[in-house]
Amino acid sequence: MKPSSFTHHEVGSIDEAVAALARFSAEGGRILAGGQSLVPMMAFRLAQPTHLIDINRIPGLDRPRLEAGELVIPACVRHAGFHQQVIPGPLGDMLATVVRHIAHVPIRNRGTFCGSIAHADPSAEWPVVLVALDGVVVARGVAGTREIPAAAFFQGIMTTALAEHEMLTEIRLPNAAAGQRYGFCEHARRAGDYAQAIALAGWRISEGVIRQARLAIGGVEPTPRRLPAVEALLDGHAPNDALFSEVADAVAHCVTPMEDPQVSASLRRDLLRATTRRALQRACA
């Protein structure tokens, strides 16, 4: 469990990072962000990058900001940065709730939001947030910058639309208006473990009924996704337990759960049903 040898490049700007990627990505060069997924994989020798392009010292990437109604999260914002509200209002609150489910404090102190998106573990929390909110991924390569919508970003287990030579420079999440409600629930074996089922619900209530419902799930299929057909069951209805049970059943039936030695497809379906119902209830709390 010692990594194979590699060359470490510390870059001082996004341009330098992109240039280094252009040069080394074909022969196994990779970005090193918080290192909380990459370094363990290197220790297990599941990843054997020959060059690490370390973006941690690039100035200006460690603070989220509000810009034109969007929360912009640059590449080096750590998970721990979300413990406190990054912006006042429902979005900041929701992010502060979600982050408490990611690993443990020492890991949150190094791991980054964007690294988690780039890594695209099917059981990670931030990717669910990204798809639930229809955020945007900003990628830069030597040829220029492009914006990838969340729905097109995740392509499979640890596979994304990001090209090998591209750096994920920032994530943009639409800010939520006052009155927006969120409910988050996940199930993990132990505190801090990757989730075995995740549900994130969001809506506004107007005249006693749910409007603009959003429901995204993770940890169950190879990629997180929104469930528009199920969201339609919520829209226009007053929130109540019977409705939530019905929606939870619908969610459980529309997925093809992954299996592993710890969780059968059938158990995972039940976990998703329970987390969905609880997320919906929490959105009312």
Partner: protein, 765 residues
């Protein structure tokens, strides 16, 4: 008179450890690092090993004259098996040692190991006991007629009659899935050759003297040319008790290349190739009379012992201990049992804290709960009717239970638990669809047993006794050199408390020397909840001898009768007078003025102790909340009432209980080694082998009774393993209690969400 025994003084071990100043094997610099190339297949024939050009790669062919590991048991029903240090012709489990390569750093050695090409013809492996026992099963060790390495059977003469007369028979089949007792520090060894031809092996060991004997025997070298040092050791739990073939190889390499060689096992290696344990299936049938008293017990124990036998305990340790101790704390007179140990293409099984008793306690405690249900009794009531209450008690297997408090500890735990209130809460919670449960486990723990007990097992190497060499130096400080080898148990503190009281000095003036074959007398190390009882007993005898000697010298120096001398607080006093002399002055005179006394010069005393053994006992009560939607179990509350005789240092005792219970809860809910049907191991990281964290372990409520028994001269019984023994049964009983409304039952551990889910589904259909 006790001044120090019974006090929770702070551990002398801790200041260095908490400041990061511990000295561990992996801290030592080495000239070369070894990486072991391990088998990727569970069963196969090694055709060719091709190392990268220019590398140093050692294979079986290089180990000329080196003997295989072959632990012996002197029993007609035991088949000895051999383990070559590196695979000879076949590999027998994923992780089996095939070759050793050397590098300048650990990473370099791993790079080279990755390039070694193995040409192995894979064979069909046998992975579990049912397939290993099948008629046409391949044999794991050529030359054996089947895969059974030990087969013990007994039946008391009155069994059949009691069985026939019983009111009812209750069945219980439990399964304990495979475990690994994970130490924080994985195994490590560092062998340094010096120009005199001697090798110093520094390693994570629980039995340094026996490691020295074993390695010297394997390599056919004089023991005097090998020194074994166990520095600070970051947990052992049994894994570091059995001989690691890797250690012998590291010594061989140091001698061969005349240099220093290091090996620091990584977590993946540890999980796949360090010793496993607890892979047991136990079926019990209890015959109860109309008053719900257990009149006869039948047991069938099947242990999957893995591919090899651990030295010195052999592959029979788990099945034979289950066989001998199955009746546990219950006064059953008639007993029949068949216990078999079966070899498979999995990692070798070895003792792990608790050794088979977590499983047999699970079997007996599930049996009691099932019987209680059948008779319409509360779980505590059926136990009241069956616990041993008269001592000494002889079990149907001939074990003698010394004075204890099986019933009293249970009643103490019940008082604390207040089950009447809990059961009301349980009923109201069910209305809100919350499922709470309570589970009781009572057990006794055989500890501190000496050589007669091991001899009864027929062990070729018969451990048991301990020797202590005690010396007071001219400054009045005591050095105690012990053969026990603590690695977290706090013996430097507790033994100092015992010696301090017996000699009349403060514990700070006592130094315990351990873990170095050059500096300590031969002894058996630390395992089986034995060190405090046996090494502590030897310390007490030696300290009393020293006390007598100090009094004799003091009586001459103070011109008083020997019987009138009192030693206390570092001072010798003529009783009832103000005539005193400092013990340190007696010490100096004993060396520098020895001509004045009719004594051998100096102040050295040696003593050995070899007791028959004793039983401590405890009751655990677990309260759980089972989320039937997610099948997650939360432990709400956990009570321990235990009796380990005299508490030498209550804080250390509670620490042992806490750690043990945490491992017991881990066994009950989380940890499991999993192989797939091809023999590949799926749990090689701590993301797959789930150890609980502080979040998962509830605060424990610990209560003590102190029943003194003459089976231990210091009055203390061992308790190092008890936490692991009772907790799984308590948790499983609690889960079953919670699941009662669904009619679901679960008798396998760990009780993972998947197993609970399956149990609930089975109950529904």
């Amino acid at each position: 008179m006790t001044t120090w025994v019974g006090r929770s003084i702070r551990r002398f071990e801790d200041p260095a450890l908490v400041r990061g100043q511990g000295r561990f094997t992996a801290d030592l610099p080495a000239a070369r690092w070894v990486r072991f190339v391990r088998s990727p297949v569970a069963s196969g024939l090694v055709e060719r090993i091709t190392p990268p050009a220019g590398s140093v790669c050692i294979t079986h062919a290089d180990l000329v004259g080196v003997r295989p590991i072959k632990p012996m048991l002197d029993r007609f029903d035991y088949v000895p098996i051999e383990q070559p240090l590196l695979a000879k012709a076949c590999v027998r489990y994923v992780g089996d040692l095939v070759a050793a390569v050397l590098g300048t750093t650990a990473a370099d050695a791993e790079d080279i190991a990755d390039q070694v090409l193995l040409d192995i013809t894979a064979l069909q492996p046998v992975m579990d006991t049912p397939s290993a026992l099948a008629e046409d099963a391949p044999v794991v060790h050529a030359g054996m007629s089947d895969n059974i390495v030990v087969r013990a059977q007994m039946c008391t003469p009155g069994h059949a009659q009691a069985w026939a007369a019983a009111d009812r028979i209750i069945d219980c089949d439990i399964r304990s899935h495979r475990q690994s007792g994970q130490p924080i520090e994985a195994r490590a060894a560092h062998a340094a050759w010096d120009s005199s031809g001697r090798v110093t092996l520094t390693c994570t060991a629980q039995m340094p003297h026996l490691m020295r004997t074993a390695i010297a025997d394997l390599l056919d070298m004089p023991e005097a040319d090998l020194r074994v040092v166990a520095p600070d050791v970051g947990g052992g739990f049994g894994q570091k008790m059995s001989l690691a073939p890797e250690y012998a190889l590291v010594v061989w390499l140091a001698r061969k290349f005349r240099t220093s060689i290091a090996w620091v096992e990584d977590r993946r290696e540890n999980l796949m190739a360090s010793f496993h344990s607890r892979d047991l299936a136990i079926s019990v049938q209890g015959a109860f009379d109309a008053q719900a008293r257990l009149v006869a017990l039948s047991g069938d124990v099947l242990a999957n012992v893995g591919a090899y036998a651990p030295y010195p305990n052999t592959a029979a340790v788990e099945p034979l201990m289950s066989f001998a101790e199955l009746p546990g704390p219950y006064a059953v007179a008639e007993y029949a049992c068949l216990a078999r140990g079966v070899v498979t293409n999995t990692c070798a099984s070895a003792p792990y804290r608790g050794v088979s008793r977590p499983a047999l306690t699970l079997a007996m405690e599930r049996l009691m709960d099932k019987a209680a249900r059948s008779f319409g009794l509360l779980p505590e009531e059926i136990r009241r009717r069956n616990l041993v209450q008269q001592f000494p008690h002889t079990s149907p297997t001939g074990l003698i239970y010394d004075t204890a408090s099986y019933r009293e500890t249970m009643e103490l735990a019940l008082r604390v638990a207040d089950l009447t209130r809990f059961r009301q809460r349980q009923v109201t919670a069910r209305v809100e669809k919350r499922y709470l449960g309570v589970g009781i486990a009572t057990f006794c723990e055989r500890t501190g047993y000496g050589s007669p007990a091991f001899a009864a097992r027929g062990m070729g190497v018969t451990p048991g006794w301990e020797t202590v060499q005690l010396a007071m130096d001219p400054s009045g400080f005591v050095e105690a050199r012990i053969g026990a080898s603590p690695h977290g148990q706090g013996l430097r503190t507790t033994l100092a408390q015992i010696i301090a009281d017996a000699v009349g000095i403060v514990p700070e003036r006592v130094r315990i020397i351990h873990g170095d074959t050059d500096r300590t007398p031969y002894g058996w190390g630390t395992f089986a909840s034995r060190s405090l009882v046996i090494s502590g007993g030897a310390c007490l005898i030696a300290a009393q001898q020293l006390h007598t000697r100090l009094c004799r010298v003091a009586s001459i120096m103070l011109e008083a009768a020997e019987a009138d001398i009192e030693l206390r607080d570092g001072i010798a006093r003529v009783a009832g007078t103000d005539r005193t002399i400092a013990i340190a002055d007696i010490a100096r005179a004993s060396y520098h003025g020895a001509h004045r006394f009719a004594e051998s010069p100096g102040l050295q005393e040696t003593a050995s102790y070899d007791p028959l053994g004793t039983f401590s006992n405890a009751t655990h009560i677990a309260f759980v909340d089972v989320d039937v939607e997610t099948c997650a179990v939360r432990i709400e509350r956990f009570i321990v009432a235990e009796d380990a005789g005299r508490l030498i240092n209550p804080m250390i005792v509670d620490g042992q209980i806490r750690g043990g219970v945490a491992q017991g809860i881990a066994n009950a809910l989380y940890e499991e080694i999993v192989y797939d049907e091809h023999g590949d191991i799926l749990t090689t990281t701590l993301a797959d082998f789930l150890m609980p964290t502080a979040h998962e372990i509830p605060p424990l409520e610990i209560h003590h009774l102190e029943t003194l028994s003459d089976a231990s001269i210091i009055g203390a019984k061992g308790l190092g393993e008890g936490g692991t023994i009772g907790a799984p049964a308590a948790v499983l009983n609690a889960i079953n209690d919670a699941l009662q409304p669904f009619g679901a039952e679960l008798d396998a551990m760990p009780a993972t969400p998947l197993r609970i889910h399956d149990a609930l589904r089975a109950a529904r259909t």
